[in-house]
Amino acid sequence: MENLTNLVTMAYLAAGILFILSLGGLASQETARRGNLYGIIGMVLAIAAVLALAMADTPRPTTLPLMLGALALGGVVGAVLAARVAMTSMPQLVAALHSFVGLAAVLVGVSTFLHPHGEAVGVVELIEIYVDVALGAITFTGSVIAWAKLEGRMSGKPLLLPGRHLLNAAVVVGVVVIGGLFVKTSEPGAAILGLGGLEWLLVMTVLCSVLGIHLVVAIGGADMPVVVSLLNSYSGWTAAAAGFMLQNDLLIVTGALVGSSGAILSYIMCKAMNRSIWNVVFGGFGTAEVAAPSDAPAVEGEVQAIDVDGVAALLAEASSVVVVPGYGMAVAQAQHLVNEFGELMRGKGTEVRFAIHPVAGRLPGHMNVLLAEAGVPYDIVLEMDEINDDLADTSVVLVIGANDIVNPGALEDASSPIFGMPVLEVWKAGTVVVLKRGMATGYAGVGNPLFFKSNTRMLFGDAKDSMGGMVSALRS
């Protein structure tokens, strides 16, 4: 038994190292697949080790088939989800998966309270359980709401209850107070207000679930990348908390890795929008301080519309083209046509590149995945910082379903709510063609002076239709 425990601990160490290598592998496209493989090996090792250990001293060997069955069922469900998901729906899938981590953590937490792992249950252990369940509950409901918003089951608009900051604060205070009650009543038989430890734990779970819902409903669609990364981070911290609770270092290591990863992604997203994490989580776009309607008239003038043939004529003379995809491209599912367009242009000897803004889409790196799916070579897909300086020397920029990320107001207009956000400076190019359904504003609800610039042409219509028209125009 002693030997097995040591062996399992070594397996945990190996799994931890494999997870680290896995994340390290994602540093470049070349090593990424190997990285994923390391992750899988690590996970197999960890599960095998813990199963072996658990089975060695289980009081009820009959649970093994039950557990294997659950594992298999979950595996099938996961595999089907992974195989079926459209790349445009990645944000939803990621959010949904986060919710599972949260749910699992709550279940494990409650289970641990019912049957403590160590011999002595002290205050520290109780607090660990409490924290694990709290984080799990917030992650769970928050992710469910994020999923619903991304999937379109719920309005993407922020729902702002009056006094919501007060409400949040009250819930947090309540959770802390109940934590005290929980610790006091955790002895069997002890009770306060007629409720025992388990009941208090469940009351807190409900409170935290409400908090998770409330936090995420208040956040608008454009901020979803940050929310999804944040929930990613939470799911990591939840796992780490579970590790403390179960005294399991592998959980702690893995949780900390995931937690930092999500935190960094959130930070990158916030920086790309020039906002603080507090502003994203608690500020909410479109709230009182923005008052979009009064700002909107600041942008006025004539837009110059263009048709597909006009764009084709422009492109015929272009020596370099930069394509700026936004969420609109994903919505219209136009990425395959965009790739075809790129191939055709490159066939004609035109330099074609893609410019990705860090917050384009609803998930960090979402646009990259969509373009990769369509078959765009990743070495012509550039980050904002890599391409911004080249835009001035570009003949034609094609903006496909993007708005706020190409808004010159972010640099020029101090009154703009997105002022200070780094943007793709497409207006410096020879001509900018904006593919757009109509003159609606982006998620930030801000008018876009780009549309009124003298070198901007608007190609109205569905992005997929427009791209299709352009591809056939280029073919002929």
């Binding site: 994923n36 009081p59 659950a70 992974a82 699992a104 900390a256 990863s261 960094i264």
Partner: protein
Amino acid sequence: MKIGVPREVVAGERRVAVTPETVQSLRGLGFEVIVEAGAGVGARFTDDAYLAAGATVIDDTRALWSGTDIIIKVRPPAQNEAMGCHESDLLPHEGRLISLLFPGQNEEVVARLAERKATVLALDCIPRISRAQKMDVLSSMSNIAGYRAVIEASHHFGSFFGGQITAAGRTRPARVLIIGAGVAGLSAIAAARGLGAEVRAFDTRAAAREQVQSLGAKFLEVDFEEAGEGAGGYGKQMSKEFIEAEMRLFAEQCAEVDIVITTALIPNKQAPILITQEMVESMRPGSVIVDLAAERGGNCEATVPDQTVEVSNVTIIGYTDLTSRLATHASQFFGNNVVHLLDDMCGDEGFYVDLEDEAVRGALVLHVGEMMWPPPPIVPKAPPPAPAPPPVVAPADPVLPAVDEPDTGAGLGRSLGGLALALSFAAIGATADAAFIQHFTVFVLSCFVGWQLIWNVTPALHTPLMAVTNAISGIIIVGGIIQGAATETNLSVILGVVAILVASINVFGGFLVTQRMLKMFRK
């Protein structure tokens, strides 16, 4: 009404206040124009051209001055050596004069004109408001001076401006530094860029940044924040600290660039010295400095007004007549500005001094001999004055505050954070049990590993990163297994098994979808 256009008497002045083209415009406004013979020669306008445009050409200078209602000329009245008298003495009693005057520097001339009860409009005093832009002689002349400065520089510079790659070898583009991005500076940027040079520009006014960048030049900045907007779109005098930072920047730049063009002026003050003797000496042999502020003392210590000097193999051009060196177009712009002013003033009565008209009031120096200068200050309207920070630059304020300014604040925050961390470590060490501390150690170290690791992930793979971290956070399955196996309580087992179920969705779903995504990335 008759307008008289005398021949300019100052040596080297080749411009003329009215061109044949503007003669036509003035006639359209109802004026009769009389031009002194040879007035347009320096700007390549013949007397015949004036005649053809409908002007009268006369030879007699004295008759021209005394026989007309308004005299329009370029330079302030000066001694006419040929006639042995001062031009202002030629002006009839209660005569009217429109010209450059610089009343601040030419008090004596103003006094002479006042004696004659003259009405005088100084074209250099036209206020810089949007409406008066079309009459703003200083702007139109600055534009020309900036262009000409580059041409003069290229003339003295023994190399190409644009880079070349030829069979006979390659040259790199010339580097041009332009100090002061006013009208002259911007025009110089455009001209130098047009010749293919690599251009950088500096200005104390933040609003200049976008203008500089829009012309394709690099905007230089000092690490010091102070708004340089003075009244009326000019620069103001900056604080001592700012100037020191600025001088450091210039010293660095001088060692790098081939051409320096300085255009820094502060209203009614001696031009500031920006290029010191040492900076000149640090420049590469063959470099050229053009000092557009030469007339007001110069921005370069080595400048000699009206001359080209060489100091340690660096040519320093201090011409004050750059506009005159482009006399044809300078005259054309000048003439058009004058036409716009008269158009603004007259209506059909000819010539009416409206004291309520900001542009006219600003330019008015003498009104029937009465001193009207300096005019009461105009409530600033047009060019961006200081109060609201100009939008263009503002990125410097809200965007990078953490990086730029509060270095001390960040340091303080960092040390406070460090202190808090140390205290919480101490607290944990003092109270927690050994097992917890061991786990805590693992936890903190893992956070650091994660932090170092994730920054290396290329942004293009952020979605796969989320998917893979998602999969490995399914490690919570370990918890489910431990709880599912290690207990006899039914509820506990069920909870554990359900946890295994949901966590395994995560594990499988996460890894498989990552695999699927990564397969798509191809070169």
